[in-house]
Subunit: 400 residues, 2 copies
Amino acid sequence: MRDVAVIGVGMHKFGKFLDLGIKDLGRVAIWNAIKDANIDPRDIECAYVGNAMAGLITGQECIRGQLVLREAGIGGIPVVNVENACASSSTSFREAYLMVAFGLYDVALAVGVEKLYCGDTATSIKAMASASDVETMGNMGFQFTANYAMGMKTYMAERGLTREHLAKITVKNKYHGSLNPYAQYQKPMTIEEVLNSRMVADPLTLYMCSTMGDGAAAVILCSAEKARKYTSKALVYVVSSDLAMSRFTDPRKPAASSGDDEGPGANELAVKAYEKTGIGPEDIDVVEVHDAMAPAEIQHYESLGFVKKDDIAKVIEEKQTWIHGDMPFNSSGGLAARGHPVGATGAAQVIELVWQLRGEAGPRQVKGRMGRGPKVGMAQNNGGRTEDGSAVTSIIIVKR
Amino acid sequence: MRDVAVIGVGMHKFGKFLDLGIKDLGRVAIWNAIKDANIDPRDIECAYVGNAMAGLITGQECIRGQLVLREAGIGGIPVVNVENACASSSTSFREAYLMVAFGLYDVALAVGVEKLYCGDTATSIKAMASASDVETMGNMGFQFTANYAMGMKTYMAERGLTREHLAKITVKNKYHGSLNPYAQYQKPMTIEEVLNSRMVADPLTLYMCSTMGDGAAAVILCSAEKARKYTSKALVYVVSSDLAMSRFTDPRKPAASSGDDEGPGANELAVKAYEKTGIGPEDIDVVEVHDAMAPAEIQHYESLGFVKKDDIAKVIEEKQTWIHGDMPFNSSGGLAARGHPVGATGAAQVIELVWQLRGEAGPRQVKGRMGRGPKVGMAQNNGGRTEDGSAVTSIIIVKR
C-alpha cells in the first residue's frame, strides 16, 4: 500500500436548513474541498458518497451520490453510494482511501451528506430509527437514547462517575462548538443547564444527547507522490483507516444489547491500528469520537486507551480533554455541538483533525503534546445497531 | 493485484414473493453460496451488500446488509452497504473483488438483494423511479420505458431493424428462461404474443420490457491461492471488474438524454477490459447483458464489439445469440425472463456465467466456441440515470 494524503477538505455548516436538499449541501462541501485542494475537479477519478437516510426523507434512493456530484458539476467518474448509518462517511472515506492506497486511482473523493430536517418530525424520527432493525427495535420505540442509557448506571458506578461528570462532557463540547463556525450549536452551556434539561432516558438529559441535523462534508484524497501537484498546504497523511463490527465474538452467539457494547469493538480496532502504525495514545494530539450521547465520549477515553478506568473521573474534573488540556477530545464540538447529520459525521471528524493538524482551527486550535503543534489525530466513529452490535471505524492521520 | 477466484455462488429464485423480506431472500442466497463453496461461514472476512430500493419498500435504511447477514448467521465482520440502482450488486461484486485482489482479505462476500413487490403497486413504482432523479425525471413520470424508447426508431432504421427483431430477442430470452429454475418467468413465448402485447412506449410492447421482482444473489470470492482449501469444483477467476459512468465526456457539458446513451459507456469500458486482459469478443463464450428492455440487448451486441452495426439484423434472424448459437447472450433468460429484482441483477449475471463455465447450467448449458466447453464469460450491467448517464459495469471471468 502506498502513502495517501488528504489534500482538500470542505464542509457545509451543520444545522437546520429546511430549504436545502442533499444536492445543495453536498455541492457546497465538495466545492469547498476542491478549492481547498486547489484541484481541477476533472482530476478527481472516483467518488464514494456516504448518506444514511435520504431515501426516507426525500424519496431518492439508488443514485444519491451521482446526483450530488452532478449538482457540483462532476460527472463521468465511477461513483459508489455507501450506507452505514452514522458511520456512512467514515466508511466512504475508508473505501476511497483504500482505492488510492492500492493504486487504482490517484485522486479520490469521499463525501458524507445528510438531510434530516424535513418539516415533519415523525418522518425524521422514522428515518433515524432505520439505523436499527425496523422490524424489531426501530418500530418498537427502542430508540438510540434508550440503548445508550442501558447499562449506564452500572458503568458509572464502577468508575465513580456522577451525572455531573456526564454534564461536564456536554459543557466542554458546547464550549468547543462555540468556537467552530461550522457547528450547528455555537452557544456555550452551563452544567446546570445540562442537568436541568428534560430527562430523556435516565441518566441522559436532553442536552447530553446529540440532535439531528443537515449538513455535508467532503474530503479529497491523493497519492502522496502527486499531492504536491495540487496543494501547497501542510500535507496530512492517512496511516490507518479501518472498519469492523463491534462484536468480534462468534456471530452465532449474539450477546444481549447493552449501552457500552461499542467499547470492546472500538478498543479492538484501536489496538490493531496502534500495532499497525506504531502510534499509541501517548502520541495522539487530538481525537474526534462519536459522542452521540455524552457517556459515549467517556467510554471512548477508555476504549481507545487514553484513560484508565479509575482515572476517568479525575480526567473529567481536571478538564484534560478540553482544547487546552493534555488530550483534547472533540475539539470540533463533537456530535453534541457540531451536530450529527448522520451520514456526514464521519467525514466531518476527519476534517476537524485535518484543520487541527494544519493549524487552521482558529480559536479552538489545540497546541499538541508538549506544545509542539499537533502532529497526529485520531477519529472514532460508529453506526447502526443490530443485535450483533454496531459498525465501528478508526482513522489515524499524521502531519509529516 | 493477485488472482481472485469465485468459489461459491447462490441465488434465491427471482419472482413475486409477497411474504418474504430482504432478510429471507438474502439468507437463502447466502447459504446456497456457502454450501456451494463448502466454506465455514466464519471464514468470510468482509461483505459488500448491494440493494437499491428496500428503504422505500420496507422502511429499512442504513444497515440492510448487516441485517441480511445476521439473518444468515453471519456477524462480526466489516459490512459495506452499496447502492447503484440496477448496478448495485455488480458494484458490490466489484468492491469485494478489489479487496481480495489487493490482498486486504482472503475471502469476501458480495450480495445483491431486492424486494419490490409489497402489495402496493404505487409504492413499488415510486421506489423504482428513485433510480432516476426524483426531483425531475422520477416524479414527472419520465420512466425508464420512455427513456429506452427515445431515439429507438432512428437507431432501428439505421440498422434495418423492425419490431419483429425486437420481439425475437424477447422470444429468445423467454425460451432461455424456460430452462432456468431460478427465473421469474419460465414460460416460452411466441413472436405474436410479444408483438400483440400492450404498447408501453413505442416501439416497446409490454413483453419487451423487464418487470419488477424479488430475489437475491450471493457470490463468495477468494484469493486464488486459498481457493482449493474450500472447493473441489472447477475454479473460475475474475480477470476484470470495472465501474464507470456511461458518459466519458466533459462532465460540465451534459448531453441530452437518449435511448442508447449506455452504448458508448459500455463500449469504452469493454474496450478497456479487452486491452487489459488480452481477451476479445471472439474469445468469449457466453455473455450476460442488461436487457432492461429488448433493444438494450441489441445495443450491447454492438457496444461490446460482438456484432457490427450492419450485421445485427442477420445475427438476430440466424439465432446466433441463442444458447445453441455461436455467441449466446443471456442464457439465463436475462432481465426479460430471469427477472429484474433491481439490486440482485448484477450478481445474478455473474452467477449464470459461473454455472455456464463450470458446466452446471443443465438444459441451457452452452457449448462454447468450437464446442470446447465455455471458458470465458462476460457480464455487462448498468444502473440509474441522471442527465450524466448511467453507472455501467463490466466483468470478465475465465475458467482455467
